[in-house]
Subunit: 317 residues, 2 copies
DNA sequence: TCTAATTGCGTAATTAATTACGCAAATTTA
DNA sequence: TAAATTTGCGTAATTAATTACGCAATTAGA
């Protein structure tokens, strides 16, 4: 299949399925060729019983790597075909112990020639191939047993996204981004107020010059998120406030908010802060969830400072 | 799966199916991880359309190696999801040309990162494996494209069975087998007559000493079939008669009858015969079919010589 | 040019697997 | 020892593929 050379490895499942389908169809014909009344899907169950030890449905399922309802159905079919039968195991009355019947045993004798011929055919195919499919499958099973492909992809994605996003300190060229990113989310729920505009237009005056910090998240060099660490008034119980968190909502699920907050918290610690404060609104569910995850605790009483606030939180650094 | 190391290669289909199932399940989760609204089974169809060329259902099916009803169903689902749409091809009104919608195209952009990450994950797995699964699948596809596993097995079986069966000339130790093999099939339909017994008990006198030959088929050294070449009377239009063909019916479908007849015909030619005669009964359908396949033609009129006969045939050597 | 064969593709039925769920038996725990 | 949890396994529903079949459009052939 030339096609799969173009798709890349994402399609390995589909490609395997096509190959499996071909092999299963041929397997059915091969059983016919030898006059063996057995379906391809029966084979693993049948084979697992050829060691003549009675086994339970679940035990067979585990051994052959299929689900137990699948084995249960196959067992029912094979009992009807009189190849296997139930025996009393006495011990555990939940189990139905299964074993080969006499005709099942004689079938396993007949199968010997078939298995040998198939083995030869596969050897013939292998000799025409540079790569050993059988061994490759075993390798993959082992590798996937250690770490699934899903986990691997998850990790690779996280690593890539981490490297795509850079957290830097505020610089004049990000002034517009600081304004716009905040304006956008505020306007989603409320309206910009004169006070907002004053602060957002003059971050140097209101934040940086007072000893605060602003962090900017760059996604491939482009500013997509901001967050500020603002010193609190002397008389306050808190050293700093986490404020003006804003992330471009077209770049979601990359942990940008999290990394901005981390930067703010780290800086607060670096500056010797002991308690960090924030004020938000419970309508901003993802933000509140993030704050909670970072360890912020909700203050029992709310003393409004902003028009938009309805929740205050604190974090012991 | 340790299990499959014990089953031998017959279970390669089952083993692949288990692996495929695992990979497909993970694929679904991976799409979820990237917020891509696509099912694993859609992927081949989707990918085949990313070259931006409108394609018909059958063309896609052929390209991705699946049946057209399968593609037809997937197409219906993907149209509903607004990833693809039908376009007018003008040319052939049987075809429904399919192409990506705008949202389908933008999805294909989003997929780029996903595909790259998966590619990396597969590379990571490959680096842990001694054998290259991807290349091995390609090798197998190529090898099976040349000759299917079914054809290979068929050939191996024929070769093995041929070597298991040996055709030898009569020897005294096969006298009992000559009698018994003939007795058995005759008694299936008729009864042994005194004339039968006389000939079967004294093959030397009635066949060999008159210049005839008897061939014995040995299956793993054990006699399982016989056939005789008997000279015809001087006044007859025929040189020889093929007679006393009998094969143990528990060893079927191995071409033993065929090989006995071949030996008889070869010997008749060797002895300078020009016309070979035989007499049989139409109830013996497999035998008549074999004679026809060997080139025997039915004589238009029947002049009985045996009580059991109802058909006579001849072969020009 | 008309008929027969082929091609495209949709629907229905079938197959082989899976998950979801529930009941009964056994085991663990408090 | 009684209650809660776990285990075994069967049934039902779902999923993703397949073959079978039939209709309409096109192409080949006489």
């Amino acid at each position: 299949m030339d096609f799969f050379e173009r798709t890349g490895k994402m399609a390995i499942g589909s490609r395997l399925r096509v190959l499996t389908e071909t092999l299963t169809r041929d397997a059915a014909s091969i059983y016919g060729l030898y006059g063996v009344g057995i379906k391809p899907k029966w084979f693993p169950v049948f084979y697992s019983l050829t060691d003549e030890q009675p086994k339970s449905v679940t035990a067979i399922a585990k051994e052959i790597g299929q689900s137990h309802p699948s084995v249960s159905t196959i067992v029912k079919e094979m009992i009807k075909a009189e190849l296997i039968m139930e025996v009393d195991g006495k011990a555990d009355r939940r189990c139905t112990l299964i074993t080969l019947t006499e005709s099942g045993k004689s079938l396993s004798q007949e199968l010997i020639a078939l298995l040998r011929d198939v083995e030869r055919a596969v050897e013939q195919i292998s000799s025409e191939c540079d790569n050993d499919l059988w061994a490759a499958i075993a390798d993959w099973e082992k590798a996937l047993g250690r770490t699934s492909i899903l986990e691997r992809v998850r990790e690779i994605k996280a690593r890539r996204e981490h490297s795509e996003v850079q957290i830097v300190e505020f610089q004049p060229q990000y002034k517009k981004a600081f304004y716009e990113l905040n304006r956008k989310w505020i306007e989603l729920y409320w309206e910009l107020e004169p006070h907002d505009i004053e602060v957002l237009e003059n971050p140097e005056k209101h934040i940086l010059d007072k000893g605060g910090h602003i962090f900017v998240a760059l996604y491939n060099g482009f500013p997509v998120g901001v967050c500020a660490l603002c010193p609190m008034p002397e008389e306050s119980a808190y050293d700093f406030e986490l404020a003006k968190l804003a992330v471009n909502n077209s770049i979601q699920r990359k942990g940008i908010g999290r990394r901005l907050c981390d930067a703010v918290i780290d800086k607060a610690r670096e500056l010797g802060g002991e308690m960090l404060f924030l004020e938000s609104n419970t309508r901003l569910k993802p933000a509140i969830a993030l704050y909670r995850k970072l360890g912020f605790k909700e203050l029992p009483e709310y003393h409004p400072a902003y028009a938009r606030g309805d929740i205050q939180m604190e974090l012991t650094l």
